[in-house]
Amino acid sequence: MVAENTTKNLSITLRVWRQAGPNQPGKFVDYQSKDLNPNMSFLEMLDVVNDELTLKGEEPIAFAHDCREGICGTCSATINGKAHGPGKGVATCQVYMRAFRDGDVITVEPFRAAAFPIIKDLIVDRSAFDKIQQAGGFITARTGSAPDANALPVPKGDADLAMDAAACIGCGACVAACKNASAMLFVAAKVSHFGLLPQGQAERDRRVLAMVSTMDALGFGNCTNQYECSAACPKLITHDFIARLNRDYLGATIRHAFKPEPAGADGGT
């Protein structure tokens, strides 16, 4: 979040989604928070509110966080209707209170998607992403079997583009921002990262087919090219990768239809 420096403290109304557990009803609850330093991060504001709630004998707001510097992908909140809140290219933990004005009412909700069930308050279960990765998001390279790292030169442009895709932090904002709750940007990023590298070619078809079918099976929606995903993405992963994924998927489907799989090619262990 980038905004002008201000020194005046602010008071806000926090309208937070409270839900005690997975299958329980939830509702918005208002909390007043006063005299906040604008240099405090949004999550630090939640820390302060939580300590106040604790002292009042109430349960603090459960929210996911860890690195607090925009890289681990743990934090996940929809702030005023936007996944990861105001600002471009930042995660929830990189939102600062100076982005708000004195007297603001700030609505905070969990990332909402059928494939991300709510665990408690603002915390959702994103293990579906891990399952997609387990289905095919890897290059099989048993430890100890690798050739010398410089044996296979990779054009710098390809390596850089692969890195752009690999920068995904697996936060799920793309899913939360999409009206269909599609995971296409996340899957496209992973498929493109590996597909752009020579090491990733052997399993390229198998990977895209397995990841896409797992994504579908886990209840993520379809992509209808609205690109809300890349707009909300804290790493600004471009939706161009979705086009790449579609090409890869189509090609793999056709090749798969005409080329029988040899027996035992499970590619697993």
């Binding site: 240099n39 504001m45 607090r68 992908g73 743990t74 915390i123 279960d125 390279a141 100890g144 690798a146």
Partner: protein, 640 residues
């Protein structure tokens, strides 16, 4: 008294590892699936170990407190990973990387371990590239390198400013492959709360499911801890908020020795604290010191003024003044301590008074703003994002912060602790960095331990365990440990005191930072040792943990971690008090050369201090493992 046999193989330094690998016992491939191994942690060390052990055919159970293995703190490492590839043809070699690491560690690490680390460093890069880690490349398509502190060669591999992320995602993909294949059973949001010892050997763990609150027992033939560092004992640090010492601390209380807890690293260039609400300190690359000049006002009265209004004559470029030959590039520890000193004098910048200016106005005059932007633009952006100030217009403010812990559980050459069957990898062990870690070497060690060391050395232990001899979780040892954890959980909830957990963590952090931070003296350490026990008592009498044990309860999680920090902090100070010398990150003001460099005492302290728990309210026992330097001569570290 613990038996500390380092099991360092005999013979020439360069042959030790090769020889050891051919001599240690092997587990027959058909028998491997009969052994179950618990790996706690999935950072670089844990995920590389879990994936590789599963590839070998062992049955692996992997536990992490995070909601996905990909979120381990390793993800945040920025700068890079070292390897003695000599791709730049600048004279690098395994020996040189070994030597730099030994010297960087201020001659307080084991020669044999460090040499092995340098040897496997080259395999790590091969492995990562094969997995698709998108390292930076040159136009010709070959791998690029950069240089890092403490080295005169260019041996650091990197992926933009996200090297840790890319290496972790590589290891995570290998782990995911094995999870998908059914070879690793993954337990996310599961926190290990105790180590279970059966018949003197580590045979399982007690874990709490952080979502449902369920406390369960898990038995195994061996337990591997790869649970990261303990820097959050200082509360504020560059670590992720969730990083904690619980796994290693509870293992310590079950008999594993804790080695050199006082070896902590403070990084000089971090964004300073802005208020009491502060939860995290963000690291800014040290490279900024190449072109930025560091200063504070000469006069205390100027400390709160707009820095641009302070005339040149009233500025104290203290590093240039005190260390004329090195200036702003003085080594990490010296730069950190000098900043503390000027702030303690009341000349620190910013509202808190804990900051020094890092000024680019001369560089901008000399090179132009565009050139400065090209070199450091992303760092200026991070700074702007956090502080809303522009480093181009006004000097940035920086302050040192806790960044890494070299100490950890004691392990032998096989990475096994003194408790048979308990292995410790990555930042959680003490083994390779001595009293100070060089930049880009933690990632190397984590992956070296996980991919290339433990897969061999664990076999030596398992070969001596009968397949299928793993105890049942119904046994008395498991039941007792489980009951202990349930009791502790209920106790936290029953106190119903007056202050949230965070209150105690902040207070402990302040005691630690003041008493055992960048500079330590007998007096500051004794003061901290007087303050910690009453703070701990106050915590147990008046902490307020809301909610219940049967749901996700972050206050309860935090309570357990802070309870452990309140004990570990004391041991850390005791270790620092006992080690009456300065070495690497451990700076005792009483022991320094006139130029401020660490004054070691090799006569008395050329050893590892491995602390052994003796029971609650009893003084721990200080065991020692002598450090025998056979191949390198211990000398005074000198970077001038």
């Amino acid at each position: 008294m613990a038996q500390l046999d380092s099991k360092i193989p005999s013979g020439p330094l360069a042959d030790k590892w090769r020889k050891h690998k051919t001599e240690i016992k092997l587990v027959n491939p058909a028998n491997k699936r009969k052994y179950e191994i618990i790996v706690v942690g999935a950072g670089l060390a844990g995920s590389s170990a879990a994936a590789t052990l599963a590839e070998l055919g062992y049955r692996v159970k992997n536990f992490v407190f995070h909601d996905s293995p990909r979120r381990a703190h390793s993800i945040a490492a920025q700068g890079g990973i070292n390897a003695a590839k000599n791709y730049q043809n600048d004279g690098d070699s395994v020996y040189r990387l070994f030597y730099d690491t030994i010297k960087g560690g201020d001659y307080r690490s084991r020669e044999a371990n460090v040499h092995r680390l340098a040897e496997v460093s080259v395999n790590i890069i091969d492995q990562c590239v094969a997995q698709g880690v998108p390292f930076a490349r040159e136009y010709g398509g070959l791998l690029a390198n950069r240089s890092f502190g403490g080295a005169q060669v260019s041996r650091t591999f990197y992926a933009r400013g996200q090297t840790g992320q890319q290496l972790l995602l590589g290891a995570y993909s290998a782990l995911s492959r094995m999870v998908g294949a059914g070879a690793v059973e993954l337990h996310t949001q599961s926190e290990m709360l105790d180590l279970v010892i059966v018949g003197g050997q580590a045979k399982g763990i007690i874990a709490r499911d952080l979502v449902t609150g369920a406390i369960t027992s898990h038995a195994a033939d061996a337990v591997v801890l790869a649970t990261g560092g303990y820097g959050n004992v200082f509360n504020l640090s560059t670590y992720a908020r969730g990083s904690n010492a619980t796994a290693i601390w509870r293992a310590y209380k079950r008999g594993a020795c804790f080695a050199n807890p006082c070896y902590t690293q403070i990084h000089p260039t971090c964004i300073p604290v802005s208020g009491d609400y502060q939860s995290k300190l963000t690291l800014m690359s040290e490279s900024l010191r190449n072109d930025g000049r560091i200063w504070v006002p000469k006069k205390k009265e100027d400390a709160k003024k707009d820095p641009n209004s302070i005339p040149e004559a009233d500025r104290d470029y203290y590093l240039e003044r005190m260390y004329p030959s090195f200036g702003n590039l003085a080594p990490r520890d010296i730069a950190s301590r000098a900043a503390k000193r000027v702030c303690d004098e009341g000349r620190g910048a910013g509202a808190s008074g804990l900051g020094v200016y890092l000024d680019f106005s001369d560089a901008i005059k000399r090179l132009g703003e565009a050139a400065v932007r090209e070199r450091y633009g992303n760092l200026f952006d991070i700074y702007h994002e956090i502080t809303a100030e522009s480093g181009y217009q006004t000097p940035m403010r920086i302050y040192p912060a806790v960044h890494y812990t070299m100490g950890g559980l004691w392990v032998d050459y096989n990475l096994m602790s003194n408790v048979p069957g308990l292995f410790v990898l990555g930042e959680a062990n003490f083994s390779d960095h001595g009293a100070n870690r060089l930049g880009a070497s933690a990632l190397m060690q984590g992956l070296g331990d996980g991919y290339f060391v433990i897969p061999y050395t664990i076999g030596d232990y398992l070969a001596g365990q009968k397949p299928g001899s793993r105890p049942s979780t119904d046994s008395a040892d498991f039941k007792a440990a489980e009951a202990g954890i349930r009791g502790m959980t209920n106790r936290f909830l029953d106190i119903k005191g007056k202050q949230p957990v965070s209150h105690f963590h902040k207070r402990l952090g302040k005691v630690m930072w003041d008493g055992c931070g960048m500079a330590r003296t007998k007096a500051t350490l004794e003061k901290a040792l007087r303050e910690i026990p009453p703070l701990r008592e106050e915590f147990w009498a008046s902490v307020l943990v809301p909610g219940s044990a049967d749901t996700l309860n972050q206050s309860l999680e935090q309570a357990g971690r802070v309870a452990d920090f309140l004990e570990l902090g004391e041991l850390l100070c005791l270790d620092a008090l006992t080690r009456e010398e300065s070495c690497g990150g451990h700076f005792r003001e009483e022991h320094q050369y006139p130029d401020g460099e660490c004054k070691r005492d090799d006569e008395k302290f050329a050893h590892v201090a491995a602390w052994e728990f003796q029971g609650k309210d009893k003084a721990p026992l200080r065991n020692t493992e002598p450090l025998n330097y056979e191949f390198v001569k211990m000398s005074v570290r000198n970077y001038k």
